[in-house]
Symmetry: C2
Subunit: 388 residues, 2 copies
């Protein structure tokens, strides 16, 4: 097991009818900015319910945070925070709204050009650069990214996605009420299942370091998602299935799964380029890239692929190659059972586009990916060819 630090102070209020919690955990004298996305939270009446609970607090709203939230949008929210002396942010939405709100929280007290905050890659922004952030809470409406219980955000700027991490970017609280997600479109739920699944895989499917408990926990999330994935897409109001999806998505990226084990985020990084170049949904890109990564990195990941085959897919018999082949195929079939395609060609993307994707990976410094940092552009090309 590798050494690790674990710290996660976000308070979770999980279950039905938890909205009242925002009154308890937002200071009574706070000036609150409610942030949201394309308007479904507004149309559904959720924003009105939130305002009713906030009562006499002074409230502003900032809507229109888009999927893959853009710097240019968020900077306008920063202006609102500064102008209106906002001292609490309340994100109502999915991962994009929450990620965007984290950036707003960090940028609002930053003295310099807030574009600087995009340049820390995987490193947390030091406290002497940003030592104070606007406190914020979240009301989750889309289970997927895990942003509701971690300190990271992915922000889009020009043709890139930038990872922003800060100890100050943990939500003070997150309200996880599965019923708030019942009205989501089917494809967004499917994408959420895949995002949670792939987050878990990227912290699990590497090489063994004796993190037996971490492995069992990762396998537990994967098995739960396999058990409830189809049901929660097909039966949006099945509370049990949706509650398990919500909790899986949160725990998949709150630090527990990855504590003390190697991590391989290649699937996400290659996927990010597919989103920024072709506008493919984040979850859809992961369903395309993960099976190809597992196939091309078969040797590096052999021991864990076998463990995955045996423990997650319960393959007892057969030779090594057969088990690995079947486990990868089962993964692909699981994604497709949710109605999500797993090949680039199904999105009309052919081999001719691969050089463009490789160029983007190069431009963004994605030249040594994976748990062993030896996944070169040449290997990324092979992955993309396999994903066609």
């Amino acid at each position: 097991m590798l050494n690790f630090d674990f710290y996660n102070p976000t308070r979770i209020l999980f279950g039905k009818d938890r909205l009242q919690g925002i009154d308890r955990y937002i200071p009574a004298d706070a000036t609150v900015l409610i942030t949201y996305g394309g308007g479904s939270a507004k149309k559904s009446g959720l924003i009105d319910k939130v305002k009713a609970v906030l009562g006499k607090r002074k409230i502003s709203e900032f809507g229109g945070i888009e999927p893959n939230p853009r710097y240019e949008t968020l900077i306008k929210a920063v202006e609102t925070v500064q102008k209106e002396k906002i001292d609490f942010l309340l994100a109502v939405g999915g991962g994009s709204v929450i990620d965007g709100t984290k950036f707003v929280a960090l940028a609002s007290y930053y003295k310099g050009n807030s574009r600087d905050l995009l340049n820390y890659a995987f490193k947390p922004i030091p406290l002497d650069v940003v030592g104070k952030a606007v406190p914020f809470g979240t009301i989750l409406t889309l289970p997927a990214t895990g942003s509701e219980m971690n300190s990271g955000a992915v922000i889009s700027y020009e043709h890139g996605k930038f990872i922003v991490i800060s100890q100050l970017a943990f939500p003070r609280f997150s309200i996880l009420d599965p019923t708030l997600t019942f009205t989501l479109p089917r494809n967004q739920v499917a994408n959420g299942v895949i995002d949670a699944f792939v987050h878990t895989m990227e912290q699990y499917l590497t090489y063994p370091v004796g993190g037996r408990l971490q492995d069992h926990i990762a396998e537990g999330i994967l098995q739960t998602l396999i058990e409830i994935g189809f049901t929660t897409v097909a039966e949006p109001e099945n509370y049990e299935a949706r509650a398990n999806l919500v909790w899986c998505a949160t725990l998949a990226l709150n630090g527990i799964v990855g504590a003390g084990v190697p991590q391989d985020w290649a699937t996400h990084f290659i996927g990010h380029e597919l989103t920024s170049l072709f506008g493919i949904d984040h979850g859809q890109t992961l369903a395309i890239v993960l099976p190809a990564v597992l196939e091309i990195r078969r040797e590096q990941k052999r021991a864990k692929l076998l463990q995955y085959a045996e423990r997650v897919w319960h393959m007892g018999d057969g030779g090594e190659e057969e088990k690995i082949d079947s486990a990868i195929e089962k993964t692909r079939e699981f994604f497709e059972s949710l109605g999500v395609k797993t090949h680039l060609s199904q999105y009309g993307i052919g081999a001719d586009k691969i050089p463009v994707i490789i160029e983007q990976l190069k431009a963004h410094g994605m030249t040594a990916l994976s748990e062993t940092q030896d996944l070169t552009l040449d290997i990324s090309r092979k992955i993309l060819e396999r994903a066609l």
Copy 2:
């Protein structure tokens, strides 16, 4: 899945050579009281190493916190804190030292008679009763209770054990260095494995509520403990085994396993009386009581006992009764494989003592135990008879 709140702000520094972390997370101007137990941390040189890292901070020591820490002892530490204007506590030890230090942290600013703080049973002490506590960190030397990452403590006073919980009783940080536990006596390691195992079982082996992820996580901890239990007792310096034990013991009681599911703490409560009446180690009492609880509560726990048999002990074939019998027997054998006895008679306790134990349970209000609060004294008697 039941509604739940989850909140755990303790920072974990896990792995080899993490002692330097105390310099980072204890304020540079703090006056520190180091608390410890019977002296092994002193004899091993650990306290000296800790002092070296603390450098120029003003340091006092309070040793002699006993197993099942007593109110009468802790109140002396409270006097030290008040007299010497201590503003940070550093617990170096196992669950008893950490539990005791939590009580000292809470009692030090309390204006009334600190015995009052023992009377909140399972309820957190309200913030308007104790609104401020001395901040504290821990350096764990015995993996067992999980106290290093939760907000609860068990304090002994006269012939009772009292549960003290407060939101202010989370350690600021805990250093979990598995190598610090290498010198533990064999029986203490075995007790630790059992404590972690039984904590997990008490949050898992109840009745199903659709907490699929919680079940998989609990099963993951149980399986890990079964995989490494014998090894970590037999090979104290096997880092991988010990690291997994340490992390299992912490996660078994940090709130994750029990979030959103029923809990049955009957084994602990009956066990507490065996410790206070006969001086049997806490872990040993659990090994005696758990198998008997499972046998006597077989019908109430049927669905989960079957799940436990199939998922934790991999029993595929056979009828329901046979699987349940085997799973309980396997549990008993696992405890015995660690060198821990599972019958009262092996400690020289016969049927004649059962009325005394029942009297104690009655005196402590333990008359409606279990996940369904219908485990009466009469059923406790049957459990004890089964445990003979």
